[in-house]
Amino acid sequence: MIAYTIYLTFAGAVLVLLVPRAFAKWVALLAALAGCGIAAIAFLQVSDFAQFQTIIRVPWVPSLGIDYHLAADGISLTMALVTGLIGISSVLFSWNIENRQNEFFFWLLLVVGGSYGVFLSADLFLFYLFYELVIVPKYFLIATWGSTNKAYGAMKLALYSFFGGALVLIALLAAYSTGGSLDLQELSRFHFSSQFQFWAFPVMFLGFAVLAGIWPLHTWAPTGHVAAPTAASMLLAGIVMKLGAYGALRVSLNLFPEGFHIWSGAIAALAVIGIVYAAAIALRQRDLKFVIGYSSVSHMGFVLLGLATAQALGAGGAVLQMFSHGIIAGLLFAVVGRMIYDRTHTRDLTVLPGLALNRVIPFAAFTFVLASAAAMGIPGFSGFPAEITILIGTWRAYPALVIVAGVGMALTAGFMLRALKKSFFGEPIPTQCPDYAPISVPEKIGAALLLCVTLVFGLFPNLLLERILPAVETMRWLNR
């Protein structure tokens, strides 16, 4: 049933192009709701999370052994759920799009549908097709509806994505020619020689990690996020970066476990550098969206660190962090892009304090306070259980790195508080007496949805962990 997330979203995308302007956003909302609803039902209904269970499998290109093969386990279900939630909220936060609405929602739904596809694919060709499918929609979303330096940001993102994809393709084709299959399950049972894994793993992992924002190949992320319109920033940070992390976990680790064990130390080091470096950079940004953009890189560093531990707890925490960061980053970008920038037309942290936004749009301030608390990893929000499980896992594998990651967390608290203070709680300058539109209903619903989700899963992380951990524990790359 969960396969219908893909079909309905794409059907919605096509339908959006055909309906009159006024209905575009409603059709998009309906498609996003339908996708999220199906993902949620599947999330609650499926009982066997450990197995990567086949949903549909039909031959597609028989001579190459390519099947149309979808499957899901606890990790896929979790990621499909966050895709659905971000899908709904990104439509809600684009309610005010006036320019070429139909096209906007068409591209938006393509990104969402392609992401569902990535999370549910069990055939490598299909996986790669969905993975590359989101490049063009992302490009259009940013280049057409973006802001600051949009042509540059869009192109940089497209080229980085394609570069990552190219690296993945090389290792993927090498695995195909050696293992003789494109089926993920079959290949993950195949034993590749150590020599082969030694080179194929880093090539493929790096390819995926480009999209997950690994240091030093992360620079597309802040530029892309800043250039993108609000909904696209939410999709980028909320889902697209997860595509990379998910691909790394599902494909590269499963196919090349030995290679992973050889290189896991290096991955952990890069991840920790990313955590601290990005947090330090975020501390010095003037553009509020750059702060959030770098915070995404820093948080995705935790995901990579969790994977690099090769511990069930660490890797499970990484998936939890993928979910949690998707929600929180979506929320932060929604506040910055939609609530603040669309009203004030500035994100400059030297100008914003003078506007004293907490008096003008108190709901935005309220949301941003909670969202930054979640981003800092305050208990009660989903970021906390995610990061704590990752750190526990790391403690077992690389005790020294926990301290460095801790520094990163402290820096995160620092830049979030700085951004919070400057953007909402400055001293008002009476001459600039702004009068902005109040927060609209769709914004409130979207923010409430994401806040509720991060609270619910922060208070009851087991809802997720009991689905993620069994799936992680079946994977053969774990250190036992």
Partner: protein, 479 residues
């Protein structure tokens, strides 16, 4: 073997010949009825395709001179389809001698059909020449256009040199093997020791055919011909001529010189034509992709990208054995469809804006959404992104090359080239969809035939991306 059988199997070519003569006759009797010529040509081409379908699937006349096989039939039909599209494009083109242009196009089509359906060196050469000569004229057809004249002259000079190479190479091969039949040459080459003379012959044939497919370093005519010729000519050079040349190249190499393949593996280098092709392919990809970056004219850009795509398409032939041939044929076919479509859009835009610089496409989305969408489909397919045919085509080619992991260097170069090319395709797409249209230009008017044809081509490119088996299974079954 009697003349009736000959007539029977040469019927498709005969139909096209009769059509060409009919077009000329109509023009001299009713010079004002332009539409009649096109109609006649369309009917003739459809009829020829129908005849190809009806004829028995297997036959071999005069030891390979005219061979009927499922593969040949498939590619004859593909060539006829490309010719048909080109005829439709001539409707809007302002050509001085309309009927003569169509007749020349039909003659070139006969050449392609002979190239596709012959497995004997002399007939192959006749087919090559019969294609090339009309194409030279069609390139320089607008006598008043300086760029066209330059392009025609360049194409002719390069082309005749290449022809000389091919002919010389063929004579050397004939001299060493004593036969002109491809299969017989194959047997001879496999059994007797390789003489240097034969090697020289093979290299010369390769050089001549590399010219036809516009592979570096034999590509210098291509950007000029693409840019300077009338748009229908460009479409035909990029599609029909290229597809037939690739089929021919693959056939000569695999049937006649299969035992001389060698290996282009990084560590296990073995002399033969395969490393040579690998070098040509790598050079084409690098030169084509990088030079295209600097272009401001869309047709010139397509010309350089054609060089890069020739490189990708060659990759399939480098694969050991004949496994990769299907990938090459698949890729060149979808490339043909894509470029026919792209030239159709460029031709229409040029008719209305008077230019084909990339800036002339600014805001195309607002001036003609259909053209913009079709062009975006074609360009994104060329860039090799899903869900379009170019994505599967490239995946298939690279997958074939990677069967031998020593050739990972070729895949890396290919992917690097794709990365570079993504940039300039996206720039064009952005110009069409994001940049505002120049204020003085109104919407672009298009006739219903062009609309229908372009929509169909766009649909083909999309469909072959989603269900590649439609074409692939036919190619594989006929190999």
């Amino acid at each position: 073997m009697n003349y009736l059988t000959l007539l029977k199997f040469a019927l498709p070519e005969a139909v096209v010949t009769a059509t060409a003569l009919g077009v000329l006759g109509v023009q001299s009797s009713r010079p004002r009825r332009q539409g009649l010529c096109e109609l006649l040509a369309v009917i003739g081409l459809l009829l020829a395709a129908g005849v190809v379908l009806i004829l028995p699937a297997h036959a071999d006349l005069f030891r390979g001179m005219l061979v009927a096989s499922p593969l040949n039939a498939l590619f004859k039909i593909i060539c006829l389809v490309f010719a048909l599209c080109t005829v439709v494009y001539t409707r809007g083109e302002r050509l001085a001698h309309h009927a003569e242009y169509i007749a020349l196009l039909l003659f070139a089509t006969i050449g392609l059909m002979l190239m596709v359906s012959s497995e004997e060196l002399l007939m192959i050469f006749i087919g090559l020449e019969l294609t090339s000569l009309p194409l030279y004229v069609m390139t320089a057809f607008n006598k008043t256009d300086r760029r066209g004249a330059e392009a025609g002259l360049k194409y002719f000079l390069f082309g005749s040199t290449a022809t000389a190479f091919v002919l010389f190479g063929l004579s050397l091969v004939y001299g060493t093997c004593g036969t002109t039949v491809l299969v017989a040459i194959g047997q001879k080459v496999a059994t007797q020791a390789v003489t240097p003379l034969l090697g020289v012959g093979v290299v010369m044939i390769l050089a001549g055919l590399a010219f036809k497919i516009a592979a570096a370093p034999f590509h210098f005519w291509a950007p000029d011909a693409y840019e300077g010729s009338p748009a229908p000519t460009g479409a035909f050079i990029a599609s029909g001529s290229k597809v037939a040349a690739f089929l021919l190249l693959g056939r000569i190499l695999l049937v006649a010189f299969g035992s001389l393949q060698g290996s282009a593996t990084w560590h296990g280098f073995v002399a033969g034509w395969s490393p040579l092709l690998a070098l040509v392919a790598a050079l084409s990809i690098v030169v084509g992709s990088i030079t295209a970056l600097a272009q401001r004219n869309l047709r010139r850009l397509l010309g350089y990208s054609a060089v890069a795509h020739a490189g990708y398409t060659l990759l399939g032939l480098i694969v050991p054995g004949s496994q990769g041939f299907a990938a090459t044929l698949f890729y060149t076919t979808i490339y043909g469809f894509t470029l026919v479509g792209a030239f159709g859009v460029v031709g229409l835009v040029r008719q209305q804006t008077g230019g084909d610089a990339i800036s002339d496409f600014a805001g195309l989305r607002f001036r003609s959404p259909l053209l913009a969408v079709c062009m975006a489909i074609f360009l994104v397919s060329l860039a090799g992104l899903p869900p379009l045919a170019g994505f599967f085509g490239k995946f298939y080619l690279f997958a074939m090359v990677m069967r031998d992991q020593g050739m990972v260097w070729l895949v890396a170069i290919g992917l690097g080239g794709s990365l570079v090319s993504l940039y300039y395709y996206l720039v064009v797409v952005r110009t069409m969809f994001v940049d505002p249209p120049p204020s003085e230009v109104a919407t672009i008017e298009t006739g219903w035939t062009e609309r229908l044809l372009l929509s169909l081509l766009g649909a083909v490119v999309l469909l072959l991306g989603l269900v590649p088996s439609l074409l692939l299974s036919r190619i594989e079954a006929s190999l």
